[in-house]
Each structure stands twice: as structure tokens, then as C-alpha cells.
């Protein structure tokens, strides 16, 4: 199967500080991948780079074979895209804006997702709880028909029941040929959903393994991930 995402020798510095060094990664079509790493390891930065929200990097990033920024961006649906909206806007207005910005945005899908996740169309963004803001981010992200979906800590501050509804929306709405990357520092939130895990540590990718291959060795995804951070080392 062809690769949805190809990253070659990616390095990124911001304010004289190195955040990512020599990252290479290939993700095939039709998979759900867990991006694991301690806080500050560079998960969000990597997603911003892939999504085209951060641009001054060395190396190459291809999404669906496209490297040019505008074309690459068109293939990526990213939960971080809500960061620069006007917080006074209503849920429905935000969805309309997304529909204007992205030709692959499907309003009918959004309305179904919003309904499933219990979001009120008339509520203003700044009146939403943190959990509801996360739900909105998920709904607008999944309402697009993209090649690559990037979910950055989608379950942060989310209660158990809501998390189930969100996981359900992901399984229901993810197109067969699309690939999804989910970052989460509570691995157990998402482990049953994953085809593979990618571990970030010391500014680079240190492992990329199939989830069930890890379990075949009698290990949980959580303990597999933790072994990279044993010995009190931390990127914080």
C-alpha cells in the first residue's frame, strides 16, 4: 500500500532551541498510529510541521506525495486548526468557516458528529468547557475528507463516557484509505484503537512498531512505551 506520509531527515529549531532532529517516518494508508512521548518531547511540533502550521524546517515532508505547502496542507485535517479562531464565534459559525476554508469539509457529517458528541450549534466557543472545545476540535477535524488526520491530545480533560463517544466517532468517520495519527500521554486511552505506535524521545523518533506485534510478545503498549522512559529521564 502507498504511503500517506513520508518524512525524511526532518530537523526543526525555534528560538535557537532544537526541537526535532533528523526525524524520518513513513506511514502507510489506512492505519491509526499512536504518537507517544513525554510532554515536551516534540509531539505537537511534529504535528504542526506535518500540518503546515510550522514551516521553517530542514528535510522533507510529503503528504500523499505532495511536498508544496498548500497542496500538503489540503490533504491534512488537524485538530490544532482551531487555535486561531475568534473565541466569540458560535459552534455553527465555526463549522461554516471550516466549510469555506476546506473544500473537503462535509457539513452533513459535522452536524451528525456534533449531535453524537452533544455539541450545541448556538453556543459561543469561549463559553464551551475545555472538554466541549476538544469535542468541537474533533468534530471539525473528522468532518473533512482528508488523507491524513492529526489528533493532538484529543482526550485531554475528557471524562470516560465522553471519551467513548469520541473514540466511537473516530472509528465511524475515519475513511478506509485515510491514516490517522493520535498523540496522547495516557496510552491506555487509545491503545485498543492503534495499528502501530511511534515513540518520540530526545528530539527524534526512537521506535515504530505494530501494536499487536508488541502484544504478541506479551507486553502492553503502555509498558512498551514506558521502557523508553525508564531511569527517570524526561524531556521536560
Amino acid at each position: 500500500m502507498s504511503d500517506v506520509l513520508t518524512i525524511e531527515n526532518l530537523s526543526y529549531r525555534r528560538n535557537w532551541k532544537t526541537i526535532l532532529t533528523d526525524v524520518s517516518l513513513q506511514l502507510p494508508a489506512g492505519q491509526i498510529i499512536g504518537l507517544l512521548g513525554a510532554n515536551g518531547a516534540g509531539k505537537t511540533t511534529l504535528m504542526r510541521l506535518i500540518a503546515g502550521s510550522a514551516v521553517q524546517f530542514k528535510g522533507q515532508i510529503q503528504v500523499g506525495g505532495q511536498t508544496a505547502l498548500a497542496r500538503r496542507k489540503a490533504g491534512v485535517s488537524y485538530t490544532g486548526q482551531l487555535t486561531d479562531i475568534d473565541p466569540r464565534w458560535k459552534v455553527g459559525q465555526i463549522a461554516e468557516l471550516m466549510a469555506q476554508l476546506h473544500p473537503d469539509f462535509r457539513m452533513a457529517d459535522f452536524l451528525q458528529l456534533a449531535d453524537l458528541l452533544d455539541l450545541q450549534q448556538k453556543q459561543r466557543f469561549n463559553r464551551l468547557s475545555k472538554g466541549n472545545q476538544r469535542k468541537l476540535a474533533l468534530a471539525v477535524t473528522m468532518a473533512r475528507r482528508a488523507q491524513l488526520y492529526l489528533l493532538d491530545e484529543p482526550f485531554d480533560g475528557i471524562d470516560v463516557m465522553t471519551r467513548k463517544a469520541m473514540l466511537n466517532s473516530i472509528v465511524r468517520w475515519l475513511p478506509d484509505t485515510a491514516t490517522m495519527v493520535i498523540s496522547d500521554h495516557h496510552v491506555t486511552d487509545i491503545d485498543q484503537l492503534l495499528d502501530a505506535v511511534v515513540v518520540i524521545k530526545n528530539q527524534t523518533i526512537v521506535a515504530h512498531a505494530a501494536a499487536d506485534a508488541i502484544r504478541e510478545g506479551g507486553q502492553s503498549i503502555e509498558s512498551y512505551f514506558e521502557q523508553f522512559y525508564e531511569g527517570g529521564e524526561n524531556d521536560d
Partner: protein, 126 residues
């Protein structure tokens, strides 16, 4: 469904479907829900469901029909064998646990026979 974190998910789904067949939720000849529907019901990804179904098809427990979906086999021999191996799996786990407690084979069979009796007694009193 709650999954064990240390066992491949596809294997746990195979066991789940086997159990559904044994207890009659899925009868011989019945159609198995579509891949996406199973993925949503069990909150796992579509590839994992496909892998589990492929293994069950390989074992002859499910029979694919082109363009229609997957069906539980009507071959009682295959289903009998499947049930037998499910039971053996349970016994194997029990045997390993009791062996780890250093019970002899005789002690195991006596203890188990006694346990079954007390369970039956308990049910009668309910």
C-alpha cells in the same frame, strides 16, 4: 468489551466471536455484522477486525460469500472442534495457575470436582 492489554486484540476478537457462536448469539449459517459495524461495536480499528475475520475464515469457522459478507459455518464438525479448543484454552489457563500453586494432578482433579459440586449446591439454594 474490555480488552486485555497484553494479548493481541485480533486474537481477543476471534475469541469473542467464537463465544458468540457457542452461546448462540451467532447461529450456524448466520451473517456476521459488517467490518465497520464490528469495529464501532468493539471500538477497535477496521484492520484489526479484518485480521480477526481472516483468521476465523482460515480456520473454517466463518465462510465468506462474495459481495454478501461473512457467515458462520454450518459444518458442525468445525464448530464442535472450535468449542473443544475454547474449552481446552480455559483448562490450560486453570491448569497452569494450579500447577504454579504446586498442586499435583490428583489434587487438581479432586479440588475441581469438589468445586463444581459446591457451585451446583449453591445454585440449588438460590
Amino acid at each position: 468489551m474490555e480488552f486485555d492489554a497484553k494479548t493481541p486484540i485480533y486474537y481477543q476478537i476471534e475469541q469473542y466471536i467464537n463465544r458468540e457462536i457457542i452461546i448462540g448469539h451467532l447461529r450456524p449459517g448466520a451473517q456476521v455484522p459488517a467490518v465497520r459495524q464490528l469495529a464501532i461495536t468493539l471500538t477497535v480499528n477496521v484492520n484489526t477486525i479484518q485480521r480477526a475475520l481472516a483468521n476465523l475464515i482460515g480456520a473454517g469457522i466463518l465462510v465468506p460469500e462474495r459481495g454478501k459478507g461473512n457467515f458462520v459455518t454450518t459444518d458442525q464438525k468445525v464448530l464442535g472442534k472450535m468449542k473443544q479448543s475454547m474449552i481446552e484454552g480455559e483448562f490450560k489457563a486453570l491448569y497452569d495457575h494450579l500447577a504454579a500453586l504446586e498442586l499435583s494432578p490428583e489434587e487438581m482433579t479432586t479440588a475441581f470436582a469438589q468445586y463444581v459440586q459446591t457451585q451446583q449446591g449453591g445454585e440449588r439454594h438460590e
